[in-house]
Symmetry: C2
Subunit: 199 residues, 2 copies
């Protein structure tokens, strides 16, 4: 259940995962190096031997575990120009990536930019790419006559905001809206767009 219980990992990875987990939960200033080391099942001394400072530990964790593949590759050859199918692909891919970077996103939210140079830029890279891709998709779908869209970028933005909102709502352990799960929401959001954009 706990990240650090995996005994197959090397010491560095145990520390990185424990750091990521605890900092995401309690914030950088809310966790001590002793806490992190203990959670990793190691001594504090080992932590400093590996990473020198607490800052470098966090930076190393970000570098090691931030998923950074290009969004465009994820959609290459996969779009079939059927609105509902393609939107489902976009949705699932979006939520998958956001969930993979969940801890990093939580950290970026909690800490201010001054102390985490460049971290926020990285967490925002995927959403920005996706907006571009989805905008172009709407434009092309419109040219094919399969949908009507007056403002493709705004439509793409709206679609992404829906799912960004749902993701952020889910990020919080103590959810704002219990009783609503992701899958039906995804389905509904797609049908909504399909009906609204239908020629």
């Amino acid at each position: 259940m706990n990240d650090s219980s995996n005994s197959k990992l090397g010491s560095s990875d145990k520390l990185l995962l424990a750091a990521l987990h605890l900092i995401a939960e309690k914030g950088y200033n809310g966790v001590t190096t002793l806490e992190i080391a203990t959670a990793a099942g190691l001594s504090e001394k080992t932590l400093f031997r590996h990473f020198g400072t607490k800052q470098k530990l966090l930076e190393a964790a970000f570098d090691r575990y931030h998923y950074a593949e290009e969004m465009k590759k994820l959609f290459a050859e996969k779009l079939v120009w059927d609105l509902e199918r393609d939107l489902l692909l976009v949705c699932t891919t979006y939520h998958e990536i956001m969930n993979r970077n969940r801890k990093m996103i939580q950290i970026s939210l909690k800490e201010d930019e001054g102390q985490l140079p460049g971290f926020r830029a990285r967490t925002q890279k995927h959403p920005q790419q996706l907006l571009e891709i989805l905008t172009n998709y709407f434009i092309e779908m419109s040219e094919k006559g399969k949908i009507v869209t007056t403002n493709p970028e705004l439509h793409a933005f709206t679609f992404i905001m829906m799912h960004f909102g749902a993701f952020m709502n889910d990020l919080d352990a103590q959810k704002s809206y219990p009783g609503i799960t992701l899958a039906p929401f995804v389905q509904e959001s797609i049908q909504l767009f399909a009906r609204a954009l239908r020629p």
Copy 2:
């Protein structure tokens, strides 16, 4: 420009505002009592004379500046059963309230529940109420034959998630999507729903 530059405020309010502002920006553990007092233009000693402890200062700030009026009152007698008009009212009211509680929401996001008992519950109160109101609204509109909705609660949730996402995106000073402003987005989101739910 700065909160604490308003010389008409009493010392307590200067401290509360400075605390709210700084804690929202750098987190509870990221700010010192000396910093807060200095930002308020007062001495650290005065801070402790007024509030005793740092915790109580934050709690007092939350109590004093959290906007807590019942959502239902805000919509009483104001809904006219015209979808586009009513959704616009819901949108603007939602964004207004969320913005009014912006600092409190930022703090709730940064700090974990263990140290801020009950804070998160208060920031989540408005969204939950709104979901209820909007769900009932969709049900009634459906009964009036003005819209078709297969799952009113999910539709309401979807609508709110769109705007929650937009708000969260805007919360960040370093926005993910520059060049997109709120007003056109609100307009588009309403038209989207109007088209999708039209009988």
